[in-house]
């Protein structure tokens, strides 16, 4: 009885979540699962402390992914959710540079011909993942499929 009561009260509390995404669109299902989970958590009035895109997950932030109009645009779909709920979406800078994902500053710094980080996402370091692990009530990782 007492235990049941504690569980029920917990479900009423708003919690701070951090979502870690390790998979690229198309190769992995991670981003699809993470997107659905994030949406469900927000609909249940939880807070998203941070979205952290790491390893191949950084590809989700590319504005150069080009698809037929009737297909889901991964970066834009995240960007819309980020804007709607004012979320913080961090893309690991070390993972990004290695995979050709750059913001304007990095493109200039390394004399690259283009930048492709979708507005709404921010490049930052692993310190932000450590901070998220400390500050969030729950951290959930969506790993790659392969």
């Amino acid at each position: 009885m007492g235990h049941q009561l504690i569980c029920d009260l917990r479900l009423l509390t708003s919690m701070k979540f951090t979502i870690v995404i390790l998979g690229a669109p198309y190769t992995d299902e991670a981003a699809e699962s993470a997107f659905r989970f994030t949406q469900a958590a927000l609909e249940k009035n939880h807070q998203i402390y941070r979205l952290f895109f790491y390893h191949d997950g950084v590809h989700n932030a590319s504005s150069l992914i080009t698809l037929p109009q009737d297909e889901i645009q991964p970066a834009q779909r995240w960007a819309n959710l980020i804007a709607q709920y004012d979320l913080e979406a961090i893309v690991c800078i070390a993972s990004s540079l290695r995979r050709g994902l750059l913001n304007e500053t990095e493109a200039k710094r390394f004399s690259k011909p283009a930048s492709n980080l979708t507005p709404g996402f921010k490049l930052a370091g692993l310190g932000d993942l450590v901070d998220a692990a400390q500050q969030s009530d729950r951290l959930i990782t969506f790993g790659p499929t392969s």
Binding site: L22, A30, S33, F37, Q39, A40, I140, T141, F142, T145
Partner: protein, 106 residues
């Protein structure tokens, strides 16, 4: 209670058995993505994993599948008949809230 997520099929990966080897009494396991193929484990398919799951069920380990992922693979009926309870995305969030920690196996 620790919530474990498993995202790979037991027919192509050690993910589920690695997870089950770490599960304690009272923990919960949710199969997501290709992990939902784990709901098809039976006495004639992967018998050792099947008996492992039966033993864990006896020590109050909860088993679940994520409904949208099971439906995407046509496995909701088999999941309903098995020990794996189907959960919506919202119920998955509730389970994460209820757990003290989440371990993700991938």
């Amino acid at each position: 209670m620790i919530l474990h997520t498993v995202n790979k099929s037991p027919y192509s990966s050690q993910c589920l058995s690695d997870c089950l080897n770490r599960v304690s009494a009272g923990d919960k396991v949710i199969l997501i993505e290709d992990g939902v193929y784990g709901a098809t484990i039976a006495t004639d398919a992967l018998p050792s994993l099947h008996s492992f799951i039966q033993r864990l069920l006896a020590s109050q380990v909860g088993f679940y599948t994520l409904r949208p992922d099971a439906e995407a693979r046509g496995l909701e009926a088999i999941s309903e008949q098995s020990a794996f309870k189907l959960l919506s995305d919202h119920e998955f969030v509730d389970l994460v809230v209820e757990a003290n920690k989440v371990l993700n196996w991938y």
